[in-house]
């Protein structure tokens, strides 16, 4: 550094020195020729198709807020259109009278067993009563609309419009018809009227529990087999049925044959047959 110089050199001064780094004039001649060739090739050559995609992406990026808002609006409209419940055209479920207690019983049963919360909805059930009975049967009954997790969100009231507009209208109508059709057997017997009725109705049909091995006591069987030749009436008066008649007769005949063997002599064995 020149000590006589009074000028202070800073970083900015040193960086300003880089401004003086300039290419010679010949550089610009070559530069101009090359850029001319590239410009012509850019005009002649057809741009690939994916450049259009990048341009479309740029447009989407520029207007991402309106596009996003429109998409959100469309999704919301679709959700409302297909899953909304309009107040008009409500299909009222008019089932037979026993349906209410049946549903209530099923609800109580499910509430006891299912861990998931049960959604209850009040639905007015219009009961067809005979003439002369002035009793208002439009009792508000708690009806279970969903008893399990996968049907928790099932609507309690189904609109005709919603069904007819839905693309799954056929399937929904068939399922709804199946749901409305009461089980003839259940409705007639009223088995599910209550828990006690259900247990009482099914109790006679049940058989007492029996252990198959309880009838197969090996000691008793062996005793009967040994006593059968000596006491023919034993098997008949036995307290338990040990085996089938065929097995008993076969085993007793074998035992008799065994007992009739004469083992007196060592060189020969006499076998006597009795018929």
């Amino acid at each position: 550094m020149n000590p006589e110089s009074k000028r202070k050199v800073t970083v900015e001064d040193l960086l300003r020195l880089k401004r003086a780094e300039r290419p010679p004039a010949a550089f610009w001649t070559t530069f101009e020729a090359e850029i001319r060739a590239k410009q012509l090739s850019a005009i002649v050559n057809k741009r690939p198709w994916w450049h259009g995609l990048s341009r479309a992406a740029a447009v989407v990026t520029r207007y991402q807020l309106p596009f996003g808002a429109a998409a959100a609006l469309a999704v919301t409209w679709a959700g409302v259109h297909y899953y909304s419940v309009s107040p008009s055209g409500v299909v009222r479920v008019q089932g037979p009278a026993p349906e209410a207690p049946v549903a209530a019983a099923a609800a109580s049963r499910t509430a006891e067993t299912a861990p998931v919360p049960v959604v209850l909805a009040e639905t007015s059930v219009r009961r067809d009563t005979p003439a002369g009975v002035a009793q208002d049967q439009s009792a508000r009954t708690a009806v279970v609309t969903a008893t399990s997790s996968h049907i928790t969100k099932a609507p309690s009231e189904v609109t005709v419009d919603a069904i007819s507009k839905s693309p799954f209208a056929d399937g929904i109508s068939v399922s709804l018809a199946d749901y409305r059709t009461p089980s003839a057997e259940v409705a007639r017997r009223s088995v599910f009227g209550s828990d006690r009725d259900f247990e009482a109705g099914l109790a006679p049909a049940r058989q007492a529990p029996s252990d198959p091995l309880a009838r197969m006591d090996p000691a008793e069987e062996r005793r009967a087999r040994l006593l059968a030749p000596a006491l023919p009436a034993y098997s008949a008066t036995s307290r338990r049925a040990l085996a089938s008649d065929w097995i008993k007769s076969k085993s007793s005949s074998d035992d008799r044959m065994y007992e009739s063997m004469d083992r007196g002599s060592s060189d020969r064995m006499l076998v006597g047959f009795r018929f």
Partner: protein
């Protein structure tokens, strides 16, 4: 008064730049209308500055020439997308800087210098070299060559973003606002990067600085 004007010049674009931007917009409208030859005027006007920016970022004149040509071709191909919201040179600088940054990131491991000669006919550089050395003749040329290599070495030790900010502000003379537009960041970020980059350069070039 002068200090406040200088500070304002560093923060916002100068009125001359605004007039220049208006003139560029007229030329751009011609190119967009189909006058392809009008784009040559823009190339002639900005080629030295674009090449200078890329050269100071890469420290390689061959890469600078290729990247500058590619930047002009990209601008020519995308001229219909230019809407005039920003000035043309800011738009062109952004294309050039983005192409250079992509190139530097691709060739991070391959970097070697290919330096231009320092022109001593520039009065500012002559005065600076006089202040740094009293040598003459071959010794002076060798000193200038060594200083040039040290400068480029210190610049290459900066990160790409800090190098870009230093190049645009200290060498090309853009304001903070214009740099923020080119680099798509805030003015505060530009200032922060500039301050940090200067600190690093000061520590690297300490032997050449006045005590």
């Amino acid at each position: 008064m002068n200090a406040s004007k200088a500070l304002e010049k560093t923060l916002v674009a100068s009125p001359e730049r605004k007039l220049e931007a208006d003139a560029d917009l007229d030329v751009v409208r011609k190119v967009q209308a189909g006058d392809v030859a009008a784009f040559d005027a823009l190339i002639l006007k900005y080629r030295e500055r674009v090449v200078g920016i890329i050269y100071n970022m890469t420290s390689n004149r061959e890469d600078a020439a290729d990247l500058a040509q590619d930047a002009f071709i990209k601008a020519f191909q995308s001229i219909n997308r230019f809407q005039g919201q920003a000035s043309f040179f800011t738009w062109l600088y952004r294309i050039a800087v983005n192409s250079t940054v992509t190139h530097l990131r691709k060739n991070r491991l391959r970097s070697f210098f290919s330096l231009e000669a320092v022109r001593e006919d520039d009065p500012v550089s002559k005065e600076l070299v006089d202040a740094l050395t009293d040598k003459t003749g071959v010794g002076r040329d060798a000193f200038v060559r060594e200083l040039q290599e040290k400068l480029n070495d210190a610049m290459q030790k900066l990160s790409i973003k800090h190098r870009t900010v230093v190049t645009l502000f200290e060498i090309d003379g853009l304001s903070h606002q214009e740099i923020a537009e080119v680099m798509d960041c805030s003015v505060g970020t530009v200032r922060s990067r500039l301050h940090y980059a200067k600190q690093l350069l000061q520590s690297e070039l300490q032997p050449y600085l006045s005590k």
